[in-house]
């Protein structure tokens, strides 16, 4: 008889995150669709605004985050759709895998995906909207990571809730968008400051808001997720 022993939360997260990233890599067609969708969104903003380059440059941060937000709905929805095929989420629950580890691995996986997508979109945004990153790449990537984490944590919880609903494609953005308005606002403002400079030293406040939002929603997700996926 095989001797199994309970593993630590961290080890369970590593196993599950590895599994999710491997599946994501295996289904690259989905990843490609996500990239083209977000690139098209950035491009459409520039067509919608027209040849006003000053307006485009002023709002570049907002457009970047809207493109990431729209793409995130596809990514978040897919992360639990994978678990619905063959009821693999039930398989994980009964393994038993710690529900908190499932939350952390899904939320981290979604964060990695969104940060990667954002890193691809930033050079495109610079080229399309004619902006430059005044404060440098470090603050830009920091804000990108914080903003993506702020979308991923509540998005993972709501994606799990919406997964069993008939109108899940509509339900997820309906629940998620109003909730993340403070994070979206902070991320867009902070990105604009990183692009255009920060003479009034406001970047710290917007970053602080993002950090606070992340602490609250990663904490809530960690505590509440077992109730979401258990009967």
């Amino acid at each position: 008889m095989r001797r199994s022993r309970p593993i630590s939360l961290l080890k369970a997260v590593v196993v599950l995150l590895g599994k999710d990233l491997l599946i994501e890599w295996r289904t690259r067609a989905r990843l490609n669709a996500l990239i083209f969708f977000s690139l098209a969104t950035l491009l459409l903003f520039s067509f919608a605004v027209g040849p006003d380059t000053k307006l485009l440059a002023r709002n570049a941060g907002g457009y970047l985050w809207l493109a990431l937000l729209f793409a995130s709905v596809l990514a978040l929805g897919e992360s639990f759709r994978v678990e619905q095929e063959n009821l693999t989420l039930d398989g994980l629950r009964m393994a038993p895998a710690d529900a908190r580890a499932i939350f952390l691995s899904k939320a981290l996986g979604n964060t990695v995906l969104l940060v990667g997508l954002g890193a691809l979109l930033i050079p495109v945004m610079i080229a399309l909207y004619g902006v430059k990153v005044t404060l440098g790449a470090g603050p830009m990537l920091g804000i990108l990571a914080l903003g993506c984490m702020a979308v991923a944590a509540p998005g993972t919880v709501y994606s799990a809730i919406a997964n069993n609903a008939r109108a899940r494609d509509v339900l997820l953005p309906l629940m998620l968008f109003p909730l993340i308005i403070p994070a979206l606002l902070a991320a867009a403002k902070a990105t604009t400051l990183v692009l255009q400079g920060d003479p009034m030293n406001q970047l710290g406040s917007w970053s602080g808001l993002l950090i606070g939002f992340n602490l609250i929603y990663w904490g809530l997700g960690f505590v509440l997720f077992p109730r979401v996926i258990e009967d």
């Binding site: 095989r2 199994s4 599994k19 039930d90 393994a95």
Partner: protein, 220 residues
């Protein structure tokens, strides 16, 4: 294997009911399965067999009543019960985009097995999938998926194995293999609960029988 006099029953159902919306899938079901005995669950489609197995496996909670596995409540001591129980279900619990070997490795690592690679390789050979270990599950036939799902069940080394239509989708050789595996499970002291429409086959493997009709236990 003989049970000690003080041992709790392998499975106990106390007035168990399960409702989905307005539909009662199980209604006030009580039953006790002693240690060392195996149970054949019979009944028409929709009689509540799968619901009962999913309640015992802790995939669902009862709407009313109590389910105990080895004396442990499936709601209050869910994680402990999950370590004792394994379910072979209509759904395979397999990731289509991972290979057979990767699917088993994920479970082996979650279970904290000391040598996940050895355990996965050994089980794939046992269920006859050794040569297809690096193929994605998406390329597997229904019978091969069933074999891999059995390997997944064996990986857990459960004390209570719940088998929902284990012979379905298998070819004659697969059915023979499945009978052999169920026999080996029983010989090693594992309690088996088997739901099948192949009653003769089931009766040859199980000592007890519970017949369900519209969620209630009735005489077979």
């Amino acid at each position: 294997m003989e049970a000690s006099p003080a041992a709790p029953p392998a499975l106990a159902l106390h007035d168990v009911s399960k409702r989905y919306g307005r539909y009662w899938a199980l209604a006030r079901l009580s039953y006790t399965l002693p240690q060392g005995r195996s149970l054949l669950l019979t009944g028409h489609n929709g009689s509540g067999k799968t619901t009962l197995l999913r309640l015992v496996a802790t995939a669902h909670s009862p709407t009313h009543g109590q389910v105990e596995v080895q004396g442990r409540d499936t709601v209050k001591e869910r994680d402990a019960v999950r370590r004792e129980v394994a379910l072979l279900s209509h759904a395979s619990f397999l990731y289509e985009d991972l290979t057979a070997w990767q699917n088993l490795m994920v479970l082996a690592r979650l279970l904290g097995l000391p040598s996940p690679e050895d355990a996965s390789g050994e089980l794939l050979t046992k269920v006859g999938l050794g040569r297809r270990s690096s193929s994605p599950v998406r390329q597997f036939s229904a019978g091969m998926r069933k074999r891999l799902a059995i390997a997944r069940l064996l990986m857990k080394a459960p004390s209570l194995a719940l088998l929902d239509e284990p012979f379905g989708e298998l070819d004659p050789a697969g059915i023979q293999d499945m009978e052999r595996i169920i026999g080996e499970l029983k010989d090693s002291g594992v309690t088996v609960v088997l739901a099948t429409h192949l009653i003769e086959q089931g009766l040859s493997l199980c000592e007890e029988r519970l017949h369900l009709q519209e969620g209630r236990a009735v005489a077979a």
